[in-house]
Symmetry: C2
Subunit: 330 residues, 2 copies
């Protein structure tokens, strides 16, 4: 046991932050959650991060002396190399916050810093869906579409911390494409995010001639309707919902085809809420990749669901801390 | 001088192969050219490669004893890791040819093997447009659109040797996109290759109400019309030609935006025939990247023309040989 090092991984989201101790094998001790409350400002947020790290250590029955390093993952906009949160829309009003420097000063341990979607990709690559492959792309499906790319044990961070921003792969011309949250038309996220699924549902229902439960659903739930409702309706046999879900697989596959034409990874995994759609959704993505991707890699690339759920972020953050320590040794 | 090693770079194209000795500084001795004549079969082709390498050494006033290693670049389809040409459309009827193994046996030197567009990207990264940056993406504009990605001194080869196949980045939905040479609709190459430029010209001329020299050009030259003719007409002030050229910049920028959302490089360079279009074409690409790319990286990414012309392939192949030797040493 003396050889097994331990790390704390902290994943800071716009609503909640999660932290846990993770060991060298990627096994996580019980995780703790705290509200992020970004509106209280960066100083309060940094303090919550420190509290979260300490709580995670305590709930593992350990002390900080048992911890080799800490990994912190935050949402963009950020400058990974300089260890800086810039101006993340999910953490308003935080600006230009030196997160790793602050945590290091307070905790007294080396701190690795990573984008949250990159950290999730690294977690899946380390001990999740991608644990047996050397090159790995993760699409994370949520309100938006995030992503992360890991090649040969390194996160593809990019020069400006925008590597693996796969929600903004372009899949349609600006003249014809759907409007994305980023203000441009034609990004993958405009089609395949939860927001995109609901938007397409609102457009398709009025024009649909057949019977569909989605009509009542939109009337009853109004603004509260979720992508999950559409996926549930599809699973229950609703034809229009099934079409909308299948279209989602199609759009995701188009994004995956561009990931193949750039990175050409061994595995592309899909994580986030929509993976509850099950095996048929994954098979639909696969079949569209075969149809619209470069033949040779499309036939061979592995298509899977992510396996770590919402733990991927803190596990990956801990994995980044571990990698940092190991590369210092070698 | 004793410390400056020398390499042979060989770039095998469908029509011609070029080879030259290149030293540690990336300086090339005079290059030689030989016809590839793929129709004569792989055995004859391999023999020509060996002859080309020997001629390059001789024309540099050297002997094979002066050469540390050889780099060979060939067009896809290939398996870079296994050192195998698979079934390249430009080298029919070659199939499953162990190029580096054969060259190594005949020349008696270590042989590096790389895809031709990747080699060109590595050449530009080493001593061309990208010599001062750490992450670099090259789009090569010709009959098709090729590409290569170099991050931190490594070519992004991909798991199935399809890394940096940037001509097949998707920019339009399959339902709306132009037909690509790969048989699918919506790839960048269908729009921005020389073939795509001519195709768009043929479509736009009949519908154009104004005066344009392109009309006469199409009638006079028929099938022989080239993308260069359209670019020349634009440079001479033809309004429709200028629109077609500007659209080309727009489509290339859309592809570049997806390269930013995956790789997020320090520099994106454009090489091949169209770079004769000059500074205004490059500026047009830049302005579309600013409009359709992720704000933060789009503002900072360097956009340039490639600098090595058709020498990039053999210089890059030599650079790959050099890198192989150096990593064996370290």
């Amino acid at each position: 046991m003396a050889d097994v090092q331990k790390y704390v991984g902290l994943d800071v989201g716009g609503t909640t932050m999660k932290a846990a101790v993770v060991d060298d094998h990627g096994t996580a001790f019980p995780a703790i959650s705290l509200p992020t409350e970004p509106e209280r400002g960066a100083e309060a947020g940094l303090e919550t991060m420190v509290v979260g790290i300490r709580q995670a250590v305590k709930s593992a029955g350990l002390t900080l002396d048992d911890i080799a390093a800490v990994g912190v993952a935050t949402p963009g906009l950020m400058d990974i190399k300089r260890g800086l949160i810039l101006d993340p829309p999910n953490l308003k009003p935080w600006r230009n916050v030196e997160v790793p420097k602050h945590i290091q000063a307070k905790i007294g341990k080396p701190v690795a810093f990573q984008n949250d979607a990159n950290a999730a990709a690294f977690g899946e690559y380390w001990v999740g869906a991608g644990r047996d492959v050397d090159s790995f792309v993760l699409f994370t499906l949520g309100t938006g579409v995030g992503g992360g790319i890991v090649i040969g044990d390194s996160v593809l961070e990019g020069e400006y911390s925008h590597g693996g921003e796969l929600g903004h792969l372009r899949i349609a011309l600006p003249t014809e494409g759907r409007l994305c949250g980023c203000g441009r038309r034609g990004c993958l996220e405009a089609y395949a995010s939860a927001t995109g699924v609901i938007g397409r549902t609102r457009e398709e229902v009025p024009a649909y001639r057949g019977a569909t439960v989605l009509k009542d659903l939109l009337e009853e739930k109004g603004e509260a309707v979720e992508a999950k409702d559409v996926f549930d309706a599809a699973a229950a046999g609703d034809a229009l919902a099934a079409k909308i879900v299948d279209d989602t697989a199609y759009y995701l596959a188009l994004g995956a085809c561009s990931a193949i034409a750039t990175v050409d990874p061994r595995m592309i995994a899909f994580g986030g809420g929509m993976i509850a759609a099950g095996e048929s959704f994954l098979q639909a993505i696969k079949s569209y990749i075969l149809r619209f991707g470069l033949d040779y890699p499309a036939k061979q690339v592995l298509i899977q669901y992510a396996q770590l759920g919402s733990d991927a972020g803190f596990i990956g953050a801990a994995g980044c801390a571990r990698k940092m320590i190991q590369s210092r040794k070698s």
